[in-house]
Amino acid sequence: MDAKDLDRTLDRMARQIVELIEPDQDPARQFGLIGMQTRGMYLARRLKSKIKKVEDLEIPFGVLDATMYRDDFRLRLKQPVVRATDIPFDITERHLVLVDDVLYTGRTIRSALDALMDIGRPGAVHCLVIVDRGLRELPICADIIGRQVPTLPGEEVRVRVNEIDDREGVWLVEHSQPSINS
């Protein structure tokens, strides 16, 4: 997926998010976008501005870092960096769309759900990912999916965004090979 494909996918997903808003809901008070650190945050921000542009709806936006809730703390060799969680609204009773780049084992979403529950009690949580690469280890699924890409365990899906990567798009790479060929 190149930058153009990614942009088209985000356009479509923005409309799908709007479809989730019920007619009697006030999005400013009852809806919210939560971007997962790091790339989910940039993707969620783009979705927010697309919704603003096309539908003229202002959707509250927050950032979540679930590092403190991960279950692989003792298994990892390298410590993940704890990044900011910043949700400037009360999530209780709100319908949230959790935005992440890749859905793989489901463990990140599991830890994100736990983190959200400690912050409040959302009315509903929907999950949006750019790529669902399969190989789930937990019973978790996404509600809005950019593209389904069946992968092998040794492979890696890399979503890259201009804001931090100085290139944009989605690449499927053999593990530990720093290649950008799809």
Partner: protein, 326 residues
């Protein structure tokens, strides 16, 4: 192909500590201190939520070994451990096997046999935490060893300063009081120098170690000289037993010459006041100074929990990888 972004990111940003233990700040680099402070800021936001607890250290057992009495440091560590969901055991010298004559090494080995992951130690002998790293496999965190170091105190001081100032570079910090007997002063000098601040030490000649300038600090024996152009003044606690040792004539005289009073706050209108606690009101600081809005003593206490959570988190992650040092 070459120069793929991720390698670039990894080089720019330190993601884990190079050390396996926190014995002192003498060997910690500015990037490691910054990592601890950044992590602490995230943990501080946990302390402000309705549920002030995260499951991060679930299954990790921490023992708090306090051979020397301490209230706030022990409580602060204990709270930090509980907020991270670690299992904690408290051990204090009084009412334990130490009062029955057990050596530090034997105590440590007994703890080791009980499968402990991390040890927080306070001891009256400098170097006790270093010694401990040689007898046990656990991660060791120094909570104060004699007059050597008290690294988590200095880290919480750095966090408190960074809340008020954009950068440490060129910042003027004065440490006032009993420098000779102060592990707080020593750790703070290391941290402040590493981060690029200027340090001035001030106190009676009897409480100033010789050649302390070699640590990169300016020395003065006059309070006004220490406060002139100073951004942050850290007053150190005067331990009452020092008075018996006749290191200064009387508490009143100490307060007259080295105590920070309202007149100083008036004269230096931007001066920020810090103190590691517990404060002797009317000795290091005048009572009105302690309660002044420019005294951030209670912010230091809150930051202490966040910093200790960050240190526990970052060092717990280093377990298993035997890489370096100490």
């Amino acid at each position: 192909m070459a120069g793929y972004t991720e390698e670039k990111v990894a080089k720019e940003e330190l993601t884990s500590l190079r050390h396996q233990h926190l014995l002192g700040l003498a060997t910690y680099g500015a990037d490691e201190i910054e990592l601890i402070l950044d992590t602490a800021r995230q943990f501080r936001s946990v302390l402000e939520r309705p549920i002030r607890r995260v499951p991060t250290l679930r299954g990790i057992t921490v023992v708090n070994l306090f051979f020397e009495s301490s209230t706030r440091t022990r409580i602060s560590f204990e709270l930090a451990e509980k907020r991270l969901s670690a299992d904690t055991i408290n051990f204090s010298a009084s009412g334990s096997s130490v009062s029955k004559g057990e050596t530090l090494k034997d105590t440590a080995r007994n703890i080791e046999a009980m499968k402990i992951d991390m040890v927080v130690i306070r001891h009256k002998s400098p170097g006790a935490p270093h010694f401990l790293t040689r007898c046990v496999d656990a991660v060791v965190i120094n909570a104060g060893d004699g007059a050597h170091e008290h690294p988590t105190q200095a880290l919480l001081d750095m966090l408190t300063i960074s809340d008020r100032f954009e950068t440490f570079a060129g910042l003027n910090v004065s440490i006032i009081g009993d420098i000779s007997h102060s592990r707080v002063a020593r750790s703070n000098i290391y941290a402040l120098r590493a981060l690029g601040a200027n340090v001035t030490l001030c106190g009676p000649r009897t409480m100033m170690p010789v050649e302390i300038e070699k640590m990169g600090a300016r020395v003065t024996h006059r309070l006004d000289e220490a406060l002139e152009g100073c951004d942050v003044a850290m007053a150190l606690r005067i331990q009452m037993e020092r008075q018996e040792a006749r290191l200064f004539p009387s508490l009143r005289e100490y307060h007259e010459r080295f105590g920070i009073k309202m007149e100083h706050l008036e004269r230096y209108s931007d001066l920020l006041i810090m103190h590691p606690g517990p404060v002797n009101r009317g000795v290091e600081l005048a009572s009105e100074v302690v309660d002044h809005e420019r005294a951030v003593i209670l912010n230091q206490v809150t930051n202490g929990i966040a910093v200790r959570m960050a240190v526990l988190f970052l060092l717990a992650g280093s377990r298993g990888e035997i890489t370096d040092d100490d």
